[in-house]
């Protein structure tokens, strides 16, 4: 594990407390304040099993550089109380330099892993302090303490606090300010943590956004104007963000009775000419596969965002894992070529989802976007995503000339056939999940079947995905091959090792299906070591790679399931010491 260094560029901290103590509110303010101060940041939340009112923790990492991963260790932990705090133990690696500040009034309840751990400790009597302030609350005290300890400029915190409480009125703001002030004052009595340097340079062009919001925005950017969906954790925020947003840009979201209805509605909307999407998580995606197969066979574009959570079955709904990969690739009945892409950061949720709309529409086939809980439900301060030119550009048909006949499934070189928008005279056709001839007439003949299978496969195989099939970074003859939310920790590890003997390259695949075989082979050329990193138990990504390319015999494999994140330090150790066998 990394030790805190003098030239700190990132600070990590946890604010925890029992139900109703407002730690998430305070965490959000902290992130906003850090953003205002010119820092980047990432905030994840963790909660007990209770629907509401259970213990919660805000896990923050603030930095003068963009943050791509959860930290290896925490600099500071503030617990407003110790109730069920041990529930978070796994998620909060601490060491002798960690500063832990607990509730002075309940010091006896301090859990063993804290008292027996190596960390430096302080105590604050949050309750008495907040009682002394009219309308004061412990979470605001903590906010002030944290701000002072990590060097967050007062005005930034103050501004964030005022923004957040604007609707609650002046009194609330004043009380919170007073609380923060008291917290700031007492910080001097606490063990010191590293401070973040005041950032230099450009502060403009930054966004505060969650991965789920980013996916929703990417979809709208790409042209999606029809969404049908059924709520499910951890995908619901995509829908809740998109619903009013779509209304504003002339689109619509329909809440369906279940996932069977959602996907079929989306296909219906898209058949009508309006780019369409649904979003779900594992159990919901399982219910959609029959209809996704219909979209393949009938050649209707549609985007399905799967925000993965721990599986199998209901699994661990609030935690992340990459274990829906196999399902996204292979769950459709029959030979059903489709697109699978995966964003590799919160910021990339915008790009990849937008791109997926473009791909689905260009190839008239479903595109599955594999996001996950770690991206979707985390909030981050990011550099504003670039504008890209990928939009829904569906090749449509026009009324044929006299004596000519429209063939919906005409055999073309690219495999893509012009798709008539209902309402176009002379192009009426029936979209069909039964095998058919080029006109669309059902046919069980061997020739028709083969021709249409070829055509559908050709569409996705021959498409030019450009350089977007993967993100590559680093230098060296060790290649770390990964995807999705594992990318962040790998990137950070590579950064840390850059210029050392262990300097390595990363290939993070954005395009998973069709497998970019040639591109991958080229990217791996000359690699002395290949290390595959994924967050599953059974090694789904490795199986997929093996099925598609020849990996070196000595390929190494780092494969752990959720719910804990893969951390940069894990990858560094791996590169330095090899996969334990």
């Amino acid at each position: 594990m990394n030790q805190p260094t003098d030239n700190t560029t990132s600070i990590s901290l946890v604010l925890a407390g029992s139900g109703g103590s407002g730690v998430i509110t305070a965490g959000n303010m902290l992130l906003a304040a850090a953003a205002k101060a010119g820092w980047y940041g990432l905030m994840t939340r963790s909660a007990g099993p209770q629907i509401r009112g259970g213990e919660a923790a805000a896990l923050l990492r603030l930095s003068s550089e963009p943050v791509s991963a959860q930290p290896d260790r925490y600099d500071l932990i503030i617990a407003l109380d110790w109730l069920n705090f041990e529930r978070f133990a796994d998620e909060i690696p601490l060491d002798k330099d960690t500063v832990i500040i607990g509730d002075a009034s309940a010091a006896k309840k301090t859990p063993a892993f804290v008292t027996e751990g190596p960390a430096r400790r302080g105590d604050i009597d949050f309750k008495s302090m907040s009682k002394a302030i009219p309308g004061g609350r412990p979470n605001m005290i903590a906010l002030g303490t944290i701000g002072a300890l990590i060097g967050l400029p007062e005005d930034a915190l103050d501004a964030a606090l005022s923004d957040a409480l604007a609707k609650r009125g002046e009194d609330a703001i004043a009380a919170s300010r007073a609380g923060a002030e008291a917290g700031r004052a007492i910080a001097a009595e606490m063990p010191a943590t590293p401070k973040l340097p005041t950032p230099e340079g450009e502060k403009a062009g930054r966004w505060l956004i969650s991965g789920n919001e980013a996916a929703g925005l990417g979809a709208i950017r790409g042209g999606v104007r029809f969404v049908a969906a059924y709520p499910i954790t951890p995908a619901t925020e995509i829908l809740e963000w998109m619903s009013p947003a779509l209304t504003k840009v002339g689109g619509v979201l329909v809440q369906a009775e279940d996932e069977l209805a959602s996907i079929n509605m989306a296909i219906g909307g898209s058949y009508g000419g309006v780019p369409a999407l649904t979003a779900t998580s594992g159990p919901g995606l399982a219910l959609m596969t029959e209809a996704i197969g219909l979209a393949v066979a009938s050649e209707v574009p549609v985007v399905i965002v799967d925000v993965m959570r721990g599986g199998p079955s209901t699994g661990i709904p609030t935690k992340s894992e990459q274990s829906d990969l196999n399902m996204a690739l292979y769950a459709l009945p029959g030979d059903a070529p489709h697109i699978v892409v995966a964003p590799n950061s919160i910021r990339d949720c915008v790009f990849t989802t937008q791109w997926s709309v473009h791909l689905a529409e260009a190839m008239q086939t479903p595109a599955i976007v594999l996001s996950d809980q770690a991206l979707g439900q985390a909030k981050s301060v990011i550099a504003a995503p670039a504008d890209i030119a990928f939009f829904a550009q569906r090749e449509t048909a026009t009324t044929p000339a006299e004596g000519e006949e429209y063939q919906r499934y005409a055999v073309t070189a690219s495999g893509v056939s012009p798709m008539a928008v209902p309402g176009t005279p002379g192009c009426a056709y029936t979209a069909d999940g039964l095998e058919h001839n080029p006109r669309g007439t059902p046919s069980g003949g061997a020739k028709d079947h083969h021709i249409q299978l070829d055509k559908r496969q050709r569409k996705t195989d021959d498409f030019d995905y450009g350089q977007h099939w993967a993100d590559q970074a680093g230098e060296g003859d060790t290649v770390v091959l990964t995807w999705g939310s594992c990318t962040g920790p790998v990137l950070e590890a590579l950064d840390n090792l850059a210029g050392t003997e262990q300097s390595a390259r990363m290939v993070s695949m954005r395009l998973l299906m069709p497998a970019p075989k040639e591109q991958l082979a080229n990217a791996l050329e000359g690699a002395k070591r290949v290390i595959v990193v994924e967050q599953t138990h059974s090694g789904q990504f490795m199986g997929y790679l093996r099925a598609n390319i020849d990996l070196p015999k000595n390929v190494e494999h780092h494969c752990t399931p959720g719910p804990l994140p893969i951390r940069p330090g894990d990858i560094e150790t791996l590169i330095k010491e090899g996969t334990p066998s």
Partner: protein, 279 residues
Amino acid sequence: MTAETALAPKHSPRDYKSDIKPVWCPGCGDYSVLGSITKAFSELNLDPENVAVISGIGCSSRIPAYTDCYGFHGVHGRSLPLAAGLKVARPDMTVLVASGDGDGFSIGGNHFMHACRRNVDLTYVVMDNRVYGMTKGQASPTTEPDWDNALTPGGSGISPFRPLVIALAAGANFIARGFSGDQNGTAKLLKEAIEHPGFSFVQILSPCVTFRPDQKTWKDDVHDAAVDPTDEIGRAARRLMTDDGFNTGVLYKGEREAFQPPIGEATATVADLEGKFAL
């Protein structure tokens, strides 16, 4: 959807028929239903390209390809959400949904209820032959409990589904029953159903000559229903709960507004949305 029915129709029923030969058995009731549908389209003066016929899987669900309108032959039981998606995205289209008693009431039963509630402007035509025709003769939800068949020998033992009262209870606004043996009468019902705003449900008794030859007596069983379709909903429930399943006509009509969120009317740009994230 207000058609100038007084004028001579622009298109004959034939104009809505494709040249694809149906897979149906000779004598199947669905031929006549196809005729009623095209007749209704013609009398409503609809342009074929502005009509979509959507279905699931079953003998009855084969109808889309036999029309010369836009169509979608989807998967088993999911015609209604497919159609709802289309209609919400394209309110300008006239959307007719064709289904069977298995497709619509067995695997598709949930969508049926929720389509009634949601009240998207669709016309839902269920060709009820009280059997799974396509899979060669098993009991459907509307099958008599003592009908012997290979899958449930001696009969399913389950009391039949009552689609019309379910539709009413679920919120449907237009409920009718027709008989395929009466092509003109059914066409008239369909015309009225298509013209009615919101979700309209038309059950058409359409015999399966192959697996239910006993249904040839239906022509004697059906009878006109003399009811006030705008009756108070409680009385309508009582009526539909206890009817004999063979009374035909429009059996209920309500006035609930159709579900159609605005689409295509932007009040902001994508850049405006992005602005909310910018610091």
